[in-house]
Symmetry: C2
Subunit: 89 residues, 2 copies
């Protein structure tokens, strides 16, 4: 099934606290996600889910990603990839 | 010492094959780095260097980061953070 940007946007509500509503991080040290490569975002979320990333703030993302299905990961990646790099300005 | 964008640019020559001369990835599945948060880039490079990231293409980045000094990491992060998000167009 093709990824669903709108479903990803809805699922991303919890992500916005750190990564910004427009995918531009609100906190220094956290990555911007706006316009990031979709495949990379899928790969990164799976790496957190599978506890293949540690160090830095990775434990936060391990917790966030652990409950995500493949479909949710695909939708989130499609949503962030669809946002304009650099933010909405 | 403040990070040196020009030194980072010079050191980044080898990174461009995958991440693009302007920080926009040339290969699907690799992250764009242009305009990424500087602190996040430092954190990510250290995580690869310390083998705290695996899965996906992480072994490539482990190899690349293993020889980087703290200063080189700081310079590379400053360089990529300085590039316009979304590329040079």
């Amino acid at each position: 099934a093709a990824a669903d940007v709108e479903a990803g946007k809805a699922r991303a509500a919890v992500c916005a606290a750190c990564h910004g509503k427009d995918g531009i991080a609100q906190i220094p040290g956290y990555p911007n996600l706006a316009g990031q490569n979709e495949q990379y975002l899928v790969s990164a979320l799976n790496a957190y889910k599978n506890k293949q990333r540690s160090g830095g703030q990775a434990t936060i993302m391990q917790s966030q990603a652990t409950g995500l299905s493949d479909e949710e990961i695909a939708n989130l990646a499609a949503f962030y990839a669809s946002l304009p790099a650099g933010g909405s300005n």
